[in-house]
């Protein structure tokens, strides 16, 4: 056993301690420092690997990767979901390329097990690469964020997946058939694209975590291929992390995996009765001054952020309003729904960026009982996660989805650009309640004005 294995053992321990640190914001940074030390140990140790005979390609790759990695880490916080999707693509592509290289190196001599591992690795790696690139493009707005569906979509996707699995089996029996290997590679790249076509931008919290899981599994497969145990451990950790997050997200969105992957959410029957009922009732609209009157009287305010806040870059304006309220002695908290935004924890990061203390960011289960005591609930760009229809309208696509109990607050003010329905394509019952008022306009503008009038108030 070489000294390198001890290096890897040490870095495995450091990685585990690193993730352990993430159990609390106080220990998180220290944990990540340990994890980066673990990475350094592993990489430096590997540079002395006995098979390495030339360093040009390695140094070139390290320099180029660093040159690209640093600017990618300096992007604005609103772009974190896209960056995360891109990094899944990068990780999966690396594993896929090494799989191809190993196939070329050993070719016909590959044993059944080894070929099966390479096949799975290349297939998972390729589909995760293109799938994640598609996700990043949708999040960045380069591709339309709405789900795109066509006839026989599910049937053709499932058939392609079955064909790819068949190719892996065929290759384990005939490892020398290079055309079939190419076919597997190309087919997997194609499958990744097709898989993401029917997925809408608001489904991203589920999908990005699932791709996270795939990227981890690809990594683990690469570890199996190279008999590199540290990579099996990290791949497995990453895979289970993505999987757990994905389960949490789909539960919070009222969906199961199959539904997300093949269901193309968002196709809702326009003719459903509830929709018509909401449309018949009219909403009450307010001006900024009237809203600030509500807020001036409030002792307790709960702010409910959603993707609209991120889209309008309104997180700083939200905090300005909260600061004004706090100087008046009001209690201000933020209600965070697990799937608000485009990735798990998205709202927390944006609000933390705006210097909102994390102790004011309250998870759904904890904040829900508090709404009944709140004088005003201020909804900033959240829609479906506040719709009371989820509780009682059995025919609604969001029926059963856990929601924030915004309607239980004494007064509800909804900041909204227009009456356009939310992602689920249904109208929100919340908007027509007796104690709900709408403040139409760009969230950032409205909040900035609101902060101004609050200052001039009492």
């Amino acid at each position: 056993m070489s000294i390198l294995q001890f290096f890897y053992l040490l870095s495995a321990a450091l990685f585990i301690l690193g993730i352990r640190g993430l159990s609390s914001p106080e220990t998180a940074r220290r944990g990540m420092n340990l994890a980066s030390l673990g990475m350094l140990v592993a990489v430096v140790g590997t540079l002395f690997h006995h098979e390495i005979v030339n360093y040009y390609w390695i140094i070139g790759g390290l320099i180029l990767g660093t040159a690209i990695g640093i600017p990618l880490s300096m992007i604005p916080m609103t772009a974190v979901p896209q960056r995360t999707a891109l990094s899944h693509a990068g990780g999966a592509l690396a594993a896929c390329l090494i799989g191809i290289s190993e196939y070329y190196r050993h070719g016909v001599q590959l044993g059944t097990t080894h070929m099966a591992i390479i096949g799975v690795e290349v297939m998972l790696g390729a589909l995760t690469t293109t799938g994640s690139l598609m996700a990043a493009a949708k999040l960045q707005g380069l591709l339309p964020g709405r789900p795109i569906t066509y006839r026989f979509q599910n049937v053709s996707n499932i058939s392609l997946l079955a064909a790819l699995a068949g190719l892996v089996v065929y290759l384990t029996l005939h490892p020398g058939d290079i055309r079939m290997f190419y076919l597997l590679l190309g087919g997997s790249f194609l499958f990744g694209i097709l898989l993401l076509i029917p997925i809408g931008a608001a489904d991203m919290p589920c999908v990005i975590t699932l791709l996270n899981s795939y990227a981890g599994l690809t990594d683990a497969a690469m570890g199996f291929m190279l008999a590199n145990r540290i990579q099996i451990i990290t791949g497995s950790l990453d895979g289970s992390s993505g999987f757990i997050l994905s389960v949490l997200m789909s539960r919070a969105m009222n969906r199961n995996f199959i539904n997300i992957l093949f269901g193309a959410f968002g196709k809702v029957e326009e003719s459903s009765v509830e929709v018509l009922e909401v449309k018949k009732k009219s909403v009450k609209s307010l001006k900024v001054e009237e809203v600030s009157k509500f807020l001036n009287e409030a002792r307790s305010v709960i702010i409910v952020p959603g993707y609209g806040m991120a889209a309008a870059q309104a997180q700083h304006a939200v905090r300005d309003v909260a600061d004004k309220l706090k100087t008046r002695g009001a209690k201000v908290r933020y209600a965070i729904h697990p799937v608000a935004g485009r990735m798990p924890g998205h709202m927390n990061v944006l609000l933390a960026e705006a210097n909102v203390p994390y102790t004011e960011l309250i998870d759904m289960e904890e904040i829900n009982p508090e709404f009944s005591q709140a004088d005003v609930a201020l909804v900033v760009g959240a829609n479906d996660v506040t719709n009371p229809a989820a509780r009682h309208v059995k025919s609604s696509p969001i029926y059963g989805m856990p929601i924030l109990d915004v309607d239980k607050a004494k007064k509800v003010v909804v900041l909204k650009r227009s009456m356009a329905p939310g992602f689920a394509g249904i109208d929100n019952e919340l908007y027509v309640l007796e104690h709900t008022w709408m403040l139409f306009g760009d969230a950032k503008d409205s909040l900035t004005q609101l902060a101004g009038t609050l200052q001039n108030g009492t």
């Binding site: 870095s11 993730i19 352990r20 993430l22 159990s23 914001p25 940074r29 990540m32 980066s36 990475m39 990489v43 140790g45 590997t46 098979e51 390495i52 390609w57 070139g60 790759g61 390290l62 990767g65 990695g69 640093i70 300096m74 974190v80 995360t84 990094s87 899944h88 990780g91 592509l93 690396a94 390329l97 191809i100 290289s101 070329y104 044993g111 080894h114 990227a215 690469m222 570890g223 190279l226 990579q231 099996i232 451990i233 990290t234 791949g235 497995s236 950790l237 990453d238 895979g239 289970s240 992390s241 949490l248 798990p344 924890g345 998205h346 927390n348 990061v349 933390a352 203390p357 994390y358």
Partner: protein, 92 residues
């Protein structure tokens, strides 16, 4: 059943259970930095890529290894930096 890497399968299984335990303790507050952190850590594919890039199996494997080193380095460097940037913002 020859050639089945059984020890590796045990490692994989145990790490998955460990992952479940570790990740369950991470509060939703930190789910975004968790994702960027696991990305950075899974950039450990760098070590495998380094060996392939540096061993002269063939020019093709050098080039593929080089590309893989580049991709993994992007994840490692970018991942750790942005995770730290995010975590720095979380204040009481």
């Amino acid at each position: 059943m020859e050639g089945i890497p059984i020890a590796e399968l045990y490692i994989f299984l145990l790490a998955a259970f460990l992952g479940y335990q570790l990740i369950s303790r991470v509060p939703p507050l930190l789910h975004t930095p968790l994702m960027s952190a696991t990305n950075a850590i899974s950039g450990i594919s760098l070590v495998g890529s380094i060996v392939v890039a540096g061993a002269n199996y063939s020019t093709l494997s050098n080039v593929l290894g080089f590309l893989a080193v580049t991709c993994s380095t992007i994840n490692v460097v970018g991942g750790f930096l942005i995770t730290d940037r995010i975590l720095k913002m979380f204040k009481k």
